[in-house]
């Protein structure tokens, strides 16, 4: 029973990571109907921005782990990624805005490959150790909880979960309550009409990319605190998993991405943890994740929380 609870915690923690990356994915898709395959690589740039900035930013805070310092590193990485996202959109996607969607999609794959290879050249291919910004440790569970005291919950795991939840709510508020959010939603319905109504589409799209990339940057820092080994290809696998999570929950739907991420994390963890009972070798965990994606696409193409939209002809 304790083992099962521990696996559940492991699963929720892994799921929160997928969800955190999936939020940015799904938001960009929700507005622009475009899958930004470079999202995972912006996530990687966020982690490396943190690696190089941390010594500078943490110095005034004593150089060791410190929460305010970690918060500043987080903000700095988010800012760098936001700028990167806006630049990518301006250079790579904007010139193709009126071209078929497939063209932009392939360009996104190109941007992704560019960032990965640039990263290998600039940062080196070997994994590097990410500094412990917050003094990560296991939360002590009082012995009065009996066998539950054996459970391991890391501060960083709670942090990732809390930040994912916070961003989920914040994003929803931005999209539904602010003027810019209204413009984003309007643009996703009909970009021609919004520009006729005096909305500057370029600004709204730039903002969307900036916000999505800032989310990727935040994920890069938070996940690197929990798993402190970073390399230029680190965005590849979580990027694909987050994409699965976003589709699972209903791509374009913000709570759906969070739900999809958590679900994927828990399922993967249970497949691995109970591989003996299920007779599925644990190496097949990714296969299970992608099988799930195929099932969802077959039976609920819009995802768990997605609305079914009819394409107008």
């Amino acid at each position: 029973m304790i083992e099962f609870l521990q696996q559940l915690i492991n699963g929720l923690s892994l799921g929160a990571i997928y969800a955190l990356i999936a939020l940015g994915y799904t938001m960009v898709y929700g507005v622009l109907r475009f899958i930004n395959f470079a999202h995972g690589d912006v996530f990687m740039i966020g982690a490396f921005a943190g690696l190089y900035l941390a010594p500078l930013i943490m110095k005034p805070f004593g150089g060791g782990p410190s929460w305010p310092g970690a918060f500043l590193v987080l903000l700095a990485a988010m800012a760098i990624c936001a700028i990167l996202g806006i630049v990518i959109e301006k250079l790579a996607y904007r010139p193709l805005r009126n071209r078929p969607r497939l063209t932009v999609l392939i360009t996104a794959i190109g941007v992704s490959l560019f960032l990965e290879n640039f990263g290998q050249y600039a940062f080196g291919v070997d994994p590097q150790s990410f500094p412990d910004l917050i003094g990560d440790h296991a939360i002590a569970i009082p012995a009065s909880f009996g066998p539950l005291a054996d459970l391991t919950i890391m501060v960083s795991q709670v942090l990732v979960f809390a930040v994912t939840l916070f961003l989920l709510i914040a994003l929803r508020l931005i999209v539904t309550k602010t003027k810019l959010g209204t413009a984003m939603r309007a643009l996703s319905v009909n970009p021609v009409a919004t520009s006729l109504m005096g909305v500057n589409n370029d600004v709204v799209i730039s903002f969307t990319f900036g916000l999505g990339s800032a989310l990727a940057g935040a994920a890069g820092i938070l996940i690197s605190i929990q798993q402190p080994s970073i390399d230029p290809l680190m965005g590849l696998q979580p990027g694909i998993k987050a994409f699965v999570a976003a589709v699972l929950g209903g791509i374009g739907n913000i709570p759906g991405a969070a739900l999809g991420g958590v679900l994927l994390g828990v399922i993967e963890t249970l497949v691995v943890g109970y591989s003996d009972v299920l007779h599925i070798p644990s190496g097949y965990r990714d296969a299970v994740a992608f099988f799930l994606l195929i099932l969802i696409l077959l039976f609920r193409p819009a995802g768990l929380l997605g609305r079914v939209e009819r394409e107008k002809v």
């Binding site: 923690s13 291919v125 979580p238």
Partner: protein
Amino acid sequence: MRIASILPILAALALGAIPGLAQDQIKVGEFASLSGGSASFGQSSHNGTALAIDEINTGGGVLGKKLDLVTEDDRSVAGEPATIARKLISQDNVIAVLGEVASSKSLEAAPICQENHIPMISPASTNAKVTQVGDYIFRVCFIDPFQGKVMAKFALSKGWQKIALLKDVKQDYSMGLAQAFQDGFTGAGGSIVKVQEYSTGDKDFRAQLTSIKASHPDAIFVPGYYGEVALIARQARQLGIKAPLLGGDGWVGESLLKVAGHALDGSFFSNHYSQDDPSPVIQNFVKTYQAKYGEKPDAMAALGYDSAKILADAIARAGTTDEPKLRDAIAATKDFKGVTGDITLDADRNATKAAVILTIANGGFQFVQRVAP
């Protein structure tokens, strides 16, 4: 006295400078990744090889001739080794080729050396396929399955009866080591209490480790590469697993201890050689290497050194650089006292020799013992 000691040097310089007398040298080809992704391995092995050639030449060379090392950089690029092997054989007329660390690179050059009947000695390619190319291809390192057997033997000697396996399904290296370990360990009465898998690039191993923890192993065998092993060790300790981890030479990497912190303290892994090995052969080598390059030699440097020394030894025994005779002499290498152990080449042209077990303590690797095959 002074003039007498300078004379041979002058003579050597004069001989080297006059092309007509160059047949007094024996040309040995070498290819290595001196730049690119695996440059750190390539430079180490090249430094070791060059040091060995220098020592041989200062000691008077072989068969009264100096060795001339022709080194080519394959830039860690696939396809280059084949081109280089052709160039070394047809243009430079080398009598033998030394290289490379990466098995995939050695596998490119090997068929060309085999075709031309030029002996090739790989310093550090551990994949079993390399020497299967043909009877002119040798290596001075042990092959992957051997390390698995060594660790199984070591675990049993420690009195550990219950071992959990955590292997990388994307690496032949890891799967091969795990299989060899399992065969050796269960064959000698130990039991594998849990088998878990991961894939290269994974960062979260908590699910596997939680399941392993529940099986209460005495130790966990993790035959992966350092990138994943460091995170596995961290997460294992976070989950309260106290059992030591065991592994192979894939653990050696710059970031291993930086990422793992103290999580690997008290764990063990097998390697080709240890610079802390008290044996005088090794300490001598460490001293001369450090004097020349300003850093301590790693396993790749030691293997590069041994590859050149074994070649020179075989030339001396063959008494000629005639390729078939040289091949037979290399194949007959027996109990050669190398820095990576007493090397005997078996019928499959692989080195059989002792492996070294290292442990991790005080933020560094420490020599534990040698395990004979």
